[in-house]
Symmetry: D2
Subunit: 135 residues, 4 copies
Amino acid sequence: MKVFSTSFPVRYYETDQMGIVHHSNYIRFFENARSQMMVDLGCPIEEFEKQFGVLIPIVSVECRYRHPARMGDVLTATASVVKSPMAKMEVAQTVVNQRGEVCAEGLVVLGFIDSKTFRPVRCPEVIVQMFEKLQ
Amino acid sequence: MKVFSTSFPVRYYETDQMGIVHHSNYIRFFENARSQMMVDLGCPIEEFEKQFGVLIPIVSVECRYRHPARMGDVLTATASVVKSPMAKMEVAQTVVNQRGEVCAEGLVVLGFIDSKTFRPVRCPEVIVQMFEKLQ
Amino acid sequence: MKVFSTSFPVRYYETDQMGIVHHSNYIRFFENARSQMMVDLGCPIEEFEKQFGVLIPIVSVECRYRHPARMGDVLTATASVVKSPMAKMEVAQTVVNQRGEVCAEGLVVLGFIDSKTFRPVRCPEVIVQMFEKLQ
Amino acid sequence: MKVFSTSFPVRYYETDQMGIVHHSNYIRFFENARSQMMVDLGCPIEEFEKQFGVLIPIVSVECRYRHPARMGDVLTATASVVKSPMAKMEVAQTVVNQRGEVCAEGLVVLGFIDSKTFRPVRCPEVIVQMFEKLQ
């Protein structure tokens, strides 16, 4: 199972008055890794949306917080497709800090909808095949 | 089981290029409802932190997205404690729009840590009793 | 000069590790007041965009920070049009806390562009007249 | 005058329903560049706060928007100190895209306050000297 990843420093505006990264931001870090996955696969999300007229909304997220990230940390977010996209796609995700500590891990389920009608559609076939090659 | 709630309009900066509220924001809306719960119980989160020297970090979040919220919607976020706080507290959450459609629902688990040592502690006894009265 | 306003509590995710509201959020609070202005004028921004095919991007913002807002504060953001919209519209803005202390004040200049071509256009005439009545 | 910079891709959650990066995010990008400046000078902001007991709140921001940034863009934010820090520090800022187009430029004025009392203080002498060497 191929793991895609992207790294970035913690931003000041991502901290909260507890002095740690606000928990909502990990959901955004997960997305950063999925965006990088699409770039690495040669089909950035914004081109996917335009080319296929298909949007990829989120069906559900689960996130378990293991270790607080802080200002000064450099995080690596990862994404790996655990269930090939048909009607839905499941992506396992982690956020790890520069010392290898897992800050958060989770599972994100995505769907596919027509960008005009907002109705569910199947994942475009070329994308299905692209992901199947990864398994 | 008592349900606490707070309402607010969708903000322009919460939308994304899909034209709907970005999914990460629902995790923040959930928090809005929990903050309101603490206010309604007479113990706003910032006073809780100061008075008890205890922070309430997030252990895990789960969120299922049902219906996209859009600019112009007025959302109501709800929180109800489903498991009385001891070492952990479980809160059921929803985000509902002005037409009663459930936009998102989920479960958030919170822990209690000492604000100095960041080590897990029990929920302060007066708070435990406060929540037990709600059941 | 008519002043439009909207109130909202400080959100936990808007605080940073200084323990105060992160400065970038005031730019968003300013927008909240402008959105409320459009609602009060009977032309919410999302309907304006659809009806006229015109977007209202930001040309410039200036913000002076006077007093930090904190968790527990209830803020009121205001907007008042200081220069009637033609090619551009100028809006004076403030954020005031529940004790009347000015947290921030500033000036936002907005333009008008065609939503298809992204080229500058004049403000739709009915909107110009709507704002002129306010002066 | 030394220019400090840092690069990062546009994130999906930074876009809004206009399909471009929401204007409030440039204020955050400016901060990214200032954080990088402190790292490059060997004194990351979080260490500065701890070591000197001094916070660096924002006094004012000005930002002029030149060119919209979009999903797929890689932005470079820059910071250069135009007025050596005494009571205040002035930082010129830009955000430039991968094609060299200036997306935004501005000026940020920062102050120095004691982290305990929140009262204005002078910039620590070693930091003043560090910045003076840059001129």
